[in-house]
């Protein structure tokens, strides 16, 4: 399964995003930020890449600040 990660500037934003996406029924998981990405915040939110557009839309609607959304390698 292809996954992506949402990267954040703060831990609180990551926790907020987890809540927003879970409430919308998406399967997400907070993971330690993979080192190939920015080390801005220690945790990142992993999601199924097929949901990428929906993730972006939901986070925009809830005005959750984020650094970027990236596909995960492998």
């Amino acid at each position: 399964m292809n996954c992506g990660v949402v990267l954040f500037h703060t831990n609180s934003a990551a926790l907020r995003a987890e809540k927003v996406l879970q409430r919308a029924g998406l399967v997400v998981k907070l993971i330690p930020t993979p080192r190939e990405f920015s080390s801005d915040c220690g945790i990142a939110l992993r999601f199924e890449w097929q949901d990428a557009a929906r993730v972006q839309q939901l986070l925009d609607e809830a005005r959750v600040e984020r650094a970027s959304i990236e596909p995960m390698g492998g």
Partner: protein
């Protein structure tokens, strides 16, 4: 025992608060926001959930604009020190707590101009005097929502409207009203709301916070402390992101877990229900005290216009003697003296002797109020 010192700290706490704190230490003891493992994430979730509950209670749309602090004093210092610079003018009232007055007097020595709008003896604020003070302009207006001495509730929405029209930010000290009186920071046009966790929110001591309204540009506020946030760790400068800019070092996770449970207790019980209960108790208390010969009750003497905090004195009796006898002979626990608010006591005419203060909570009963009144009656007789 009858506990009537809830304006100092509420007691007892709801059982769910104690359970949440126990649960945090037993099950979720990681350092919130620092690591990616499950215990750290779980601790972070508990802290975040508390942020969300507080945002809901105060009508804040963005939970990340809730900044956790140790107490209301810490939140007030963060706001006052963070906003005011030499040459700025700040307006406050004649009924404030030392949590506001002491930081202001220190800032005054550093070149901040402090204007105090006097209050009437019942604690009410003359809005035309505020309007006059605002004519000279101000960076900030700082007011308590309710007096910690006599409970008088100030008309925050009216104050905020006038302050905004004059271009000033409004900082509200809600130490006595959070969880007790409805507060909606957007509807009331509050720019910064300082609250404590251990009074009307039924959390433990060591918790509190500052809520930033939508209009406040956080870039205009200097942090009180700088340090590790678990974010932007590659930089040696404090990040600008909220809430990290103003929250550094390991937070009081266990306390915040308790605070979150306390806020949820308030939300479930309902502010209107809590308020109605406390108004009924306060009415009975004011009426009962007023009927006792030699007793003077301060404030508006109208339960609808104040919190459940009532101050009184007895002619020719020291307040310290009354406090000691209430405790030793009747098991009634209250606070006597100046209540860290010399300015308020000067306003009501009780400086430097102070008053006896009875303060109820949602757990206080009418029977307890009647028993406390009996105790005062008997002390006055002998």
């Amino acid at each position: 025992m009858i506990y009537l010192d809830n304006a100092a700290t509420s007691f007892p706490k709801p059982p769910q608060v104690i359970r949440a704190m126990n649960d945090f230490l037993e099950r979720a003891g990681g350092n919130p926001g620092r690591s990616g493992h499950r215990l750290s994430v779980e601790a972070g979730r508990i802290v975040y959930d508390a942020r969300e509950a507080i945002a809901e209670l105060f009508g804040a749309r963005d939970p990340l604009r809730v900044i956790f602090t140790l107490n209301a004093t810490h939140a007030l210092n963060l706001a006052l020190r963070g906003i005011l610079r030499a040459g700025d003018r700040v307006i406050t009232t004649g009924i404030e707590h030392n949590a506001v007055m002491r930081p202001l007097r220190a800032l005054e020595r550093e070149g901040v101009r402090v204007a105090v709008v006097p209050c009437a003896r019942d604690g009410s604020l003359d809005l035309s005097a505020l309007r006059d003070a605002l004519r000279l302009g101000a960076r900030l207006v700082v007011v308590n929502h309710a007096s910690n001495v006599i409970g008088t509730i100030l008309p925050i929405a009216e104050i905020a409207r006038r302050a905004r029209a004059a271009g000033a930010w409004v900082l509200v000290d809600a130490a006595q009203t959070a969880g007790v009186v409805p507060i909606d920071i957007e509807a009331m046009e509050i720019d910064l709301l300082a609250f404590t966790g251990h009074k009307g929110l039924y959390g433990p001591p060591g918790t509190g916070g500052l809520v930033l309204g939508e209009r406040v540009d956080a870039a205009m506020i200097e942090p009180l402390m700088r340090g590790g946030t678990g974010s932007r760790s590659e930089f040696e400068e404090q990040p600008d992101d909220l809430p990290d800019k103003f929250e550094c070092g390991t937070p009081n996770g266990v306390g915040i877990a308790g605070l979150g449970a306390g806020v949820r207790f308030v939300l479930e019980r309902g502010i209107e229900t809590i308020r109605a209960h406390e108004v009924a108790l306060t009415r009975a208390l004011i009426e009962g005290l007023s009927e006792i010969p030699g007793v003077t009750v301060y404030g508006t003497r109208d339960a609808e216009l104040q919190t459940a905090t009532v101050s009184f004195t007895v002619a020719n009796r020291r307040v310290s003697e009354i406090g000691l006898r209430l405790d030793e002979e009747f098991g009634v626990l209250c606070r006597v003296g100046l209540h860290c608010a010399p300015s308020a006591h000067r306003t009501i005419g009780t400086f430097p002797e102070g008053t006896v203060r009875f303060a109820s909570s949602v757990f206080t009963t009418l029977e307890e109020i009647r028993a406390a009144l009996d105790a005062v009656r008997r002390i006055v007789q002998v």
